[in-house]
């Protein structure tokens, strides 16, 4: 008697748990998506394991919604390598040619130049995660609108006298990282506050530091091809 009651209960719990995971994995599918905001960061602040780690994070998140067949790159610039300028990486040069569309199929930019112009369509409604969710921005209790880019407004690396990449995304305790506002809104009505890719620097490179200025260690991912 006891065992017959216990078994269905256990089975039910197990089914529920499995079902929850299966649903989370199979729920949203977006095979045609070519742009998204990471739904979460790797968890170590701006230490993303370098550009490679950031790209792998994009790839992994894309794969969870059926878009892993493309080559995904994070929209990040490195520090200027003054000793070897050709080793400097500009975010704008690593994301393919576009156009890029979000989870819902909305085109956010038609080309690299379009992306870095006023015609850019990234905003709080289109800057969706790989799961099609909006990012809480200004006005939300946990504002996470800061997108790490380490880039200037034109999508290029900062000059070599600045470290705005947390040591090329390898440090959670040294330097700063430049961020843009996915909701195009900030504290002031300035061009910088409205910039999707170059609004302000972070307090530091830690998860707490990123959170303190309105972020959560999130970044943009683009399908390069």
């Amino acid at each position: 008697m006891h065992s017959s009651v216990r078994l269905p209960m256990l089975a039910g719990v197990a089914l529920l748990a499995l079902g929850g995971i299966a649903q989370a994995q199979q729920g949203p599918q977006a095979p045609n998506m070519t742009f998204f905001v990471t739904s979460a960061g790797p968890g170590k602040g701006a230490d993303l394991g370098g550009l490679e780690g950031a790209d792998a994070h994009c790839q992994k998140l894309a794969a969870t919604v059926g878009a892993g067949g493309k080559t995904w790159h994070a929209y990040l610039s490195t520090n200027t390598n003054a000793a070897a300028p050709d080793k400097t990486v500009n975010a704008r040069d690593r994301i393919g040619k576009g156009p890029w569309q979000n989870f819902k199929g909305e085109v956010i930019a038609t080309s690299v130049d379009d992306l870095h112009s006023d015609n850019n369509k990234i905003n709080t409604n289109t800057g969706l995660t790989e799961r099609g969710q909006r990012i809480p921005g200004v006005g939300f209790i946990l504002n996470a609108h800061d997108m790490m880019t380490g880039s200037q407004p034109d999508g290029r690396a900062f000059p070599g006298n600045m470290n705005m990449t947390c040591n090329n995304y390898s440090s959670s305790n040294f330097g700063k990282v430049e961020v843009g506002h996915v909701d195009r809104t900030g504290l002031a009505d300035t061009a910088q506050a409205h910039s999707w890719n170059s609004s302000h620097q972070s307090r530091d490179c830690s998860q707490e530091g990123l959170i303190s200025t309105g972020g959560n260690a999130l970044f943009y991912c683009f399908a390069a091809q």
Binding site: A82, A83, Q152, P153, F158, P159, G160, N161, M162, N163, M164, F174, G175, K176, E178, A188, D189, T190, A191, Q192, S195, S198, S199, H200, Q201, R203, D204
Partner: protein, 226 residues
């Protein structure tokens, strides 16, 4: 008895000599014609200089200690770009007069604002002297204190306002970062930035330990504006 007294007198004389030496050191470094120097010390609170006004007052005080207090001294510092009111943005290059400027030993380090921000600039470890005529520790010295607070681009201007590199306009020792130049024109790499007197690299933070960590001590440049 006499011998003891003489030895006491001798000691007193020695003490007087030591004290006299100190007095001599203070009076010897009179530099009334000086129009440029590196602060021999910071304000002690990292990049919190009490704002631009506090930094200027620090320059003025140090200049006065060597008989050059009759000039108007300004610190070579920029503020953050004020995008709401661009006219309020302050560029270091616009607040230091027209030059030429000379150090405590009379060596001209630049003849004009343009010269100062060109390759013709003569600031080096040997010429970038303190108000007392002292050499600032650089690469190879312990501790290295060659980082000069400027908060400025290589052209001596404020950075764009998508960055904050003045430790909140020189009022914070715990929020932000700043940019420093290398008075000895040397750094950890052979790059234009590391060789730059005004804009070599960012600091770790704004505290005194943060400034020390990357080769600084909260020092900065002072220029006579007239």
């Amino acid at each position: 008895m006499n011998t003891m007294r003489s030895s006491i007198l001798a000691s007193a004389a020695l003490l007087a000599l030591v004290l006299g030496g100190t007095a001599q050191a203070q009076e010897a470094t009179q530099a009334p014609n000086m129009t440029f120097f590196v602060t021999s010390a910071g304000t002690g609170k990292g990049a919190d200089l009490g704002g631009l006004a506090g930094a200027d007052a620090h320059c003025q005080m140090l200049a006065a200690s060597v008989g050059a207090g009759n000039k108007t001294w300004h610190a070579y510092l920029s503020t953050n770009t004020n995008s709401s009111n661009p006219g309020a943005t302050i560029n270091a290059r616009d607040r230091i007069g027209r030059g030429p400027w000379q150090n405590a030993k009379g060596v001209v380090i630049a003849t004009s604002v343009e010269d100062l921000h060109s390759a013709g600039n003569k600031i080096t470890k040997e010429s970038g002297l303190t108000e007392k005529g002292g050499v600032v520790n650089g690469v190879g010295d312990t501790p290295n204190t060659h980082d000069m607070l400027t908060g400025s681009t290589m052209e001596g201007r404020a950075f764009p306002d998508n960055v904050s590199l003045t430790c909140n306009n020189w009022t914070s020792s715990n929020f932000g970062a700043t940019v420093v130049g290398h008075v000895d024109r040397r750094g950890n790499a052979d790059t234009v930035f590391q060789h730059n007197w005004a804009s070599a690299h960012m600091t770790r933070g704004c505290s005194q330990p943060d400034l020390i960590a990357t080769g600084g001590a909260g020092l900065f440049y002072c220029f006579a504006t007239n």
